[in-house]
Symmetry: C2
Subunit: 231 residues, 2 copies
Amino acid sequence: MTAKHSDCVHCLMRGRSIFAGLSREEVCELGMDVQDIHVPAGTTIYHEGDPAQYAYTLRQGGIKLVKSLPNGHAQIVRLLHHGDLLGFEGLRTDRHRHSAITLTGTDLCRLELRALDALSQRLPAVREAIFARWQQALQGAEDRIVELGAKKADARLATFLCQWVGAYPQQRAAPFPLTRQDLGEFLGLSTEHVSRIMADLKRHGLLHEHKGKIEIPDPRNLLLYAGSTSA
Amino acid sequence: MTAKHSDCVHCLMRGRSIFAGLSREEVCELGMDVQDIHVPAGTTIYHEGDPAQYAYTLRQGGIKLVKSLPNGHAQIVRLLHHGDLLGFEGLRTDRHRHSAITLTGTDLCRLELRALDALSQRLPAVREAIFARWQQALQGAEDRIVELGAKKADARLATFLCQWVGAYPQQRAAPFPLTRQDLGEFLGLSTEHVSRIMADLKRHGLLHEHKGKIEIPDPRNLLLYAGSTSA
DNA sequence: AGTCAACTTTGATAATTCTCAATGCAGACA
DNA sequence: TGTCTGCATTGAGAATTATCAAAGTTGACT
């Protein structure tokens, strides 16, 4: 893991970060100690239960937020793409509510939580940005509840895959660093079952996979198929 | 449904509402049109997809927030107790993301969303309160994801029942207005399956039910039992 | 008291999903 | 190039959960 001081002013991600609403001058005067961090795939950035000290902006790569149960099961609570914020569970939360693990090599900006908190008091734009992300996260979480509670395995997987590739509209084939186990832990299924469904989808030509890339020729078909295998 | 002007200053719920942090004077000067509303059980307060105009504070009673799927399934996204806020999906959200349906006769305070929004800009205490509820809701939603994704039926039900009675610490037996169908739609199970598990729990003396009241002699036992029927 | 409607319980059977075990596959590395 | 390790796939059987159908219960209303 490497770290250096970050130059927020010229950051390519600024437009998608929580500092998006600020002027160039305001960014210059943040007065925050922002670290620029690099971690390889499979790194745990922080553990569930750890005292929370930093928040991070995911600049590049993928991260999973995981909760573990005493019975040995793990549940991926959320998957993060570039531009997402992590580690900032709440205003006065002093412990991380999940573990953050990189799925790929990852670039992050690390901010001190105390400083970020203070900043959000001072700058309405930052507060709004955090607020908005929160709202987004809640909405996402509630959608997941519906997926997990009211849909069958194949429909869950199909919807998820469509959403995933939807997050990479530029590319023809989206990067796909998730293992079958990751998928299982995200969708509440066993790895084997995920594997079987994936194989089925591929057999039906609804899905192509190759070297960590995934492609869905026609999302509508995929959703239709998953919906029709069972009401 | 009856409505009259509300007297926030003397409201018994004020301490638990989003106006909790305000002084008596500030409450007097809210300048908000707060309506005092009463609705019977089984009323839909607003529908999923409706343009959002009001937020509500639940003063008394129980409410379920429901999302419906095209396939006919319904999923209860959240259950609200007294003191909870509803209808306030986000600052700039103009549509309700779920339907709100009363489980019991219910007392509500109705606030105009636009006014509440303006108020939260003006009064940091209100903003903080809303913020805090949000964080709470997100945390709750993520916990639900874990429940739905990583636990079996009996464990889900057990944890839920313990949480439910935990929300009524004063009483020996907690009010329990949920039908088996409600439980099923909350936990992602069929009504029949819920019924069977409930019967089992009662047979083992882990649970008593009588006239819309529920009692758990020893929550620890209940959780233990549900955990042990399967790893 | 009688009736109705809504909710609950129970049973039988089917569908879904999990678990365990074995095998296949591909990239990392010596 | 061989080997090794981690991941993916496949199969078979078991466990879990859903579905369908039929009674049973309860409470409200007449």
